[in-house]
Subunit: 310 residues, 3 copies
C-alpha cells in the first residue's frame, strides 16, 4: 500500500515510478467500480484563476462520483483578488473551508506557492505554461489501457513541441518506462534542448524529424498537439506548417502505420486533426479525455487517504 | 409502465399523448413525496451557452433533490469554445463526465445536433427561438393541476404570438387534448400561419382576435407572453400595443371572466402584467414556475430510468 | 431549546442576547463534530448580486458539510434581472426551488424586501453598506473562542470606523456583554455619532482616540479594518493615515500590549496589516475567517430547524 496521504500534486516530477504505477492502478480500480460514499463529508475547493472547462468539470465529476462536495470559483473577477488580496491570503482562507484545493493559475509557480502556504493537499491543474500533472497521469493511463502496457513503447510526438507543456511532461514520464521517442515538428517548434539533454542523460533513445511519413511505421502511439498561429511571425509560414501537420483519415491511409497505432491528443483540437479520424480504430483521444474522471478520482482519493481496498 | 430510458428530450413533438400523460403523472408523484436517493451517484451536466436563471436553477434543484449531482458551465466565454473547439467535440468530452446532458444554446437545432453526437440522454433547455420542451411540460402540468383536467379546455393566448416559442409549443401540446383556442394579439404579432394550418389539420377549433374583451368570458385559462419593444420599428406603435395588452387587477375586473379562470405566464414579466394581479385567485404563474422542479425531476428520472414505483 | 425555525437573519439587531448565545453554542457544536446527513434533501439558494468569494464559499461549504445542496448564481448579468425582472419576482420564483435563500445585494434594504416577499427563511449576506449579520456572529464566535468569554472585555476598533459595517454591527453586539470599547481612527473616519449615542444609552463605556499607542495596553482584543483610499479627497492625507494605522509585528513590538491580546480583521486586508503579524500569537484573523463555516452551519441548521441534539 502506497501512502500518498496529504501529498501535494504540483509537478509530475515529484512522483517515483512506483507511485505512478500505483496511481494508475488505483485509477483502473476507480473506473471499474462505483464508490459513491468514498469521500462523503469531504469538500474540495476548485480555484480557477483561468478558464478550463474540461479540467474543472472532470475534477467536479470525480469528486461528486465519490460522494464528495465541491466549492469553486471560476471567475477571478468575482473574488477578493480584485480588492487587492494576495493569493496567499485567499488560499489560507479557502483552506479552512475545504479538505483539499485544486488550483489553476496563469502564473508559473503559483501552485507550488499555494502548496507551501496551506496545510491541506494542493493539486496543480495547470500553472501557466509550466505543469499540469493530472493531464500527464491521464495521458499515461490512456496509453497503458489502449496498448496493454507502458513498457518499451515507441511513441511519436507531433506538432508544437516547443511550447506544449503536455508533451514535455509526458516525455519525462515515459522515460520511466523505456520508451523510444520520435519528435516530429516544424524546425521552429522543436523540443527545447534542455529537455532533450535530460532524456539523453536518462538513457532514452529519441530522434527528431520534420516528417511524419519518415517514422510513421515505427510508432505504437502518436501524441498530437495544436500548432498555434500566434507562434508564427509570418502567416505564410504558418499556412505551410498547418497543412503539412494536418492529420486526417485520408492522410493516414497514405502512410504505412501499424494496425494498432493509437492516436492521442490533449484536446481541444482545432485545425490540426480532422473529424474523419474519429471513427478509426486509431483514435483514442475522446477515451483519453474521459479518463480524466477515474484518474482524478484516484488522485483525490489517494491524497485524501480514502482508498478503496480490494 | 412507460419506458423512456435513454430518450432525448429535444422537441415536444417527439412525445405521444400517452407519453405526455405518463410524464405529467410522474411529475405529480415527484411533487407529492421526496426521493432523496433516487439519482444517487448520477451526474448531470448543464451546458448553458446562453444565460437562464430559472431553467438552470430548477434543473439543478430537481437533480439535487433526487440525490444526484450537477456539473455545469454557465459562461461559454470560460470554455474551450473560445479556443475554437466545435460543439460536437465539447459535448463528446462532457458526455464522458456525466450520465445526461442538459443544453441551452443560442442556435436553433443545437440540441438535436448534440443528441445525434452523444450516447447519453440530451435534454433541450432552449435552442434559440426554436424549442424548450420542459417549459411546455410544466405549462401543461400547471394547467392540469389548477383546472383539474387537460381535456376540452378553452384556452386564450395573449401577447406576442408570432415569436413566442412557448406559445407555439403549448398550442401543439393542447391539441392532443381537444382544446379550443383564442389567439389574442396585435395584428403585427399574430400566430404564424403554418402553425394555424397545423392546428386546422388536427381538427382544433380556434379564433384570432385583437381584443381580449371580446373573448374573455369564454376562457378557462389565459396564457400571457411578453411583447418586446424590439419587435416594433415605430415606438409609438409599441406604446399603443403595450397599453392595450397590459393586464392588471383593475383591467380584469372590467372584464366578464369566469371565476375559475387561471392566468399563466412563462416569466419573466416586465410591463405586460401588473403585480396587482398576483394576489388574485386567477394568478398561477408563480406556481407554474415552481412546477419546473417536479416536472424536471420526472423527466430526469424517466430518461435515466430510475422511476419511483408505487 | 431555542426555536429559530423559519426565522430570517437580516440584521444582528433582530436577535436577543439569549438567541445570540444559543447560536454561538450551536456553532461550537457544529465545529466539534461532523453531521453529514443533517440537511440531507434540503436545497439552499445563494443569490449573489455582488461578488463575495469568502462569504459565498463558506455558506456553500457549511450547507454541503451538513449533507445539503446548493443552487446559486454569482453573476447577475446571467439572470432574468437583465431582462428587467423585478427582484421580488426573481426571489418569489427561487423560493419555489429551495428551502432557504441567502442573498447578497448592492442595495441597502434588499434583504429585508426579500424576506418580506417570500415564505422561506432569508439570510442577509450583506446588503450594500448596511448589514452583514453572519459576519458579526463569526466575529463574536472568534472572540468568545480565543478569549474564553464574551463578558466584560476591553475591545479596540481601529481603521475606518465611519464606513465599516462590520465594526458598527460588532459594537452593537458586544454591548450585550458589558464590553468597554476604544475607537481608534483618523478624525475623518470616526464612528458615526448616532451609533455612539446608542452605545451611551445602553450604558457602554467607550473612548475615542487617534492613537493606538495611547490605549494599546488596555486591550483584550483589537478589531482592524481596511482604510480605503477612495475615502480621501487628498492623496497626501491618505498617505499619512495609511502609515499611522499600519499594523506590523515590528510596530506591535514597540507597543505595550497584553500577552493575550487577540487581533481580528474581517479580511481581505491590503496595506493596513502586514504578513509579519501572521505568525504571532496575537493573529486570529484566519481562524476568524474559518469560523465562517461552523457559524453558518449553526445558522442554517437553526432556521431550517434541524439541530443536532445532545
Amino acid at each position: 500500500m502506497m501512502d500518498l496521504k496529504g501529498r501535494d500534486v504540483i509537478s509530475f516530477r515529484d512522483f517515483t515510478r512506483e507511485e505512478i504505477l500505483y496511481l494508475l492502478s488505483l485509477s483502473k480500480e476507480m473506473e471499474e467500480k462505483t464508490h459513491p460514499d468514498l469521500l462523503k463529508g469531504r469538500v474540495l475547493a476548485l480555484l480557477f484563476f483561468e478558464p478550463s472547462t474540461r479540467t474543472r468539470m472532470s475534477f467536479e465529476s470525480a469528486m461528486k462520483l465519490m460522494g464528495g462536495e465541491v466549492i469553486s470559483f471560476a471567475d477571478p473577477g468575482a473574488t477578493s483578488v480584485v480588492k487587492g488580496e494576495s493569493l496567499r491570503d485567499t488560499v489560507k482562507i479557502v483552506a479552512g473551508y475545504a479538505s483539499a484545493i485544486v488550483i489553476r493559475h496563469f502564473l508559473e509557480g503559483a501552485a507550488r506557492l499555494v502548496a507551501d502556504t496551506v496545510d491541506v493537499p494542493v493539486i496543480n491543474a495547470g500553472d501557466g505554461s509550466n505543469q499540469h500533472p493530472t493531464q500527464t497521469f491521464l495521458d499515461l493511463y490512456t496509453i497503458q489501457k489502449t496498448k496493454g502496457t507502458l513498457e518499451g513503447l515507441t511513441v511519436g510526438f507531433i506538432g508544437d513541441l516547443k511550447y506544449g507543456r503536455t508533451v514535455h511532461s509526458l516525455t519525462y514520464a515515459l522515460a520511466h518506462f523505456n520508451a523510444s521517442m520520435y519528435f516530429i515538428s516544424p524546425s521552429a517548434l522543436r523540443m527545447p534542448s534542455d529537455l532533450l539533454d535530460g532524456l539523453t542523460k536518462r538513457g532514452v533513445k529519441f530522434k527528431e524529424t520534420t516528417s511524419l511519413e519518415e517514422v510513421s511505421g515505427k510508432l505504437d502511439a502518436l501524441y498530437c498537439t495544436r500548432i498555434q498561429k500566434e507562434r508564427f511571425a509570418d502567416p505564410i509560414e504558418y499556412g505551410k506548417v498547418k497543412d503539412a501537420y494536418h492529420l486526417s483519415k485520408a492522410a493516414l491511409n497514405q502512410l504505412d502505420v501499424k494496425d494498432d497505432l493509437k492516436i492521442l491528443h490533449p484536446l481541444p483540437r482545432v485545425e490540426e486533426m480532422d473529424e474523419s479520424l474519429d471513427d478509426t480504430p486509431y483514435a483514442v483521444y475522446f477515451q483519453q479525455a474521459h479518463s480524466g474522471v477515474p484518474v482524478r478520482e484516484a488522485i483525490l482519493a489517494a491524497v485524501l487517504d480514502v482508498k478503496e481496498r480490494g
